[in-house]
Symmetry: C2
Amino acid sequence: MSSPRGNALIGQSGGPTCVINQSLVGIVEEAQKSGQIDRVFGALHGIQGVLDDRLIDLGRESAATLEAVANTPCAGLRSVRKKPTREECGQVLERLQAHDVRYFFYIGGNDSAETAHILNELAVEIGYDVRLFHVPKTIDNDLCVTDHCPGYGSAAKFVASAIMGDNQDNRSLPGIKIDVIMGRHAGWLTAASLLAREHEDDGPHLIYVPERVFDLDGFVGDVDRMYTKHGRCLVAASEGIHDKDGNPIFSSKEVDSHGNVQLSGSGALGDFLAGAVKSKLGSSLRVRADTFGYLQRSFAGYVSEVDAREAREVGRTALRIAVAGERQHGSIVITRNGAGDSYEAGFEATELSNVARVTRDLDDAFVAGENDIAPAFLDYVRPLVGTMPSAGRLSDFPIS
Amino acid sequence: MSSPRGNALIGQSGGPTCVINQSLVGIVEEAQKSGQIDRVFGALHGIQGVLDDRLIDLGRESAATLEAVANTPCAGLRSVRKKPTREECGQVLERLQAHDVRYFFYIGGNDSAETAHILNELAVEIGYDVRLFHVPKTIDNDLCVTDHCPGYGSAAKFVASAIMGDNQDNRSLPGIKIDVIMGRHAGWLTAASLLAREHEDDGPHLIYVPERVFDLDGFVGDVDRMYTKHGRCLVAASEGIHDKDGNPIFSSKEVDSHGNVQLSGSGALGDFLAGAVKSKLGSSLRVRADTFGYLQRSFAGYVSEVDAREAREVGRTALRIAVAGERQHGSIVITRNGAGDSYEAGFEATELSNVARVTRDLDDAFVAGENDIAPAFLDYVRPLVGTMPSAGRLSDFPIS
């Protein structure tokens, strides 16, 4: 199969990550080396920018600018939350044809894979030769096939470092502290809080993920036991915790443009859990809640170096596979070769239909009981997070 | 005035900072070099640990442990929120005498300076020769006399980096975003968000500090104007904003053990402000709020190197001045010599009574109007924060 000569177009979609621009720049730099691609365009605000013909010329950016953008969190091309209809996808294809775009790369989550999938079906129908690739990103780490997702390692490092610090805070001034962590459906990010537990009495003392049913009375009982045992209790809870019927434990009633109930951008769940603890265990208890919020996906200046490198390589790989002509469409996946210090990532492609729409929960073997994460998860997550701070602790030697 | 031979005792008090242990270790290492001090004790949970005789032997800690602790956020000795009564201060002095403590160092905010002040008065009354020093720490930066406070630079760097990332987030997915930042009485930490504004259209677009009266209608009008101008709006608001009568704009009704209304450890203020914007400007607007919470004072692995060095030196200075015998008590202050790249910090002592109880607001010259911070503040804050990330931005070149 020979690959066409023409232009490339890149878009970014969905919630930001700290390394999503590494993938963008990886595509651009590899496109410029390829000899197969005339011009590299960017669509502002993803698929909406294609529909509105808001394209920019990425080929004119200096190497210095591209490198600065690669190291900047959130979508340099700006993002969008939009699932285009089949009709809109037809309009997108018209725009691609108008600009002789033969390579389209959509950096995003499973919704973006679905968009690429629909575009591919339509392109085949009308016989337009265009290579359609999904480039994965999500702090939620919930895409299928891939071992892990670009963006996850940095968010996991942020969450683990925040919990490590908050464990020290909670040890300094004991009380009950509840930290709410992103992850609507999957507990991958909340699970990363386990990295903060160095000593047996370190928090997080309780970890709640959406892969288990959350029972409010059970939760309060867990907190009571931990508080009795340690004189303090640090809780890591996913924003996606839900009751046995799948209803969120607490959320604002608002929905986003995908029709999902809003969970982030509000402290409501944390405050609700703190209130429940106080009302049942006693109002004189010192109970606090923090919701880590957008900092998890956008904090500037603190990334996993492994994650940044891999996100760059995922972009490069997408371009290389597209140009090589072995396949007309696909989603890039990361494979894991070796464990611990011998960890190495591999990069390849899978069918769009394997990634579109579906999501991947935290492996069952990584969840321990109703309120903890299994140590086996540490082997999975450590290589992705890379260097972590380590907490020093006084020995508390007696004075005589 | 000759300085006595005897033991030293160190305590930590109040809310944590990321570098409070640098000061602790600075005191310990200088005490071990002094030749004047026999043993170095630590009190667990500050003054409460003295009352309860929960002392540990810091002299037996290895240099490696001390260094690891110095680089760990929050009080290694654990902390306390307690203003001891005069009677309790008398009991503290008895404990000091019992352990032949001739040097007491209390690392904390203005309440800790007040405790040291009372202890000093009582020691003079009973004629016990003990050197009582307050070692400053606070992310709020609101202590008097000193140019700035150890702990502030790191918290300011965290806040500025969070806002820088959130500005990118808000630019990627436009909407109205409200970030609530610590600082009960003073706007120093909220003001640091200005460091994130690199381009004219960058957020924070509005900054609200407790040094100005906060008017809810005025706030909503400000947001409306900025949203119209930029198509988005990022707000940095202090948790301490209040109406013209000094009442908090919104808070839980809870008070801490100092009798202060609880402002942190809850997302209530941010959610309240977001709700006000939606109810007045339209419920279809995308409005989100994050409360940065304890991460500002305890995040592991991200400090201002300048702040860390200075916090260490503040501890060393306290020990040196105490042993030198020029003064029997005091609070350590940092002076500023030179600006910009030629910034250098000096270290000396002032009277405890100059620091006890009182607080220092953000300089009036640093506040611009009702909703912004003046550029002059950047000259003040930059040397304290040190190296900051910088955000790259695409040029958005047209495609033809």
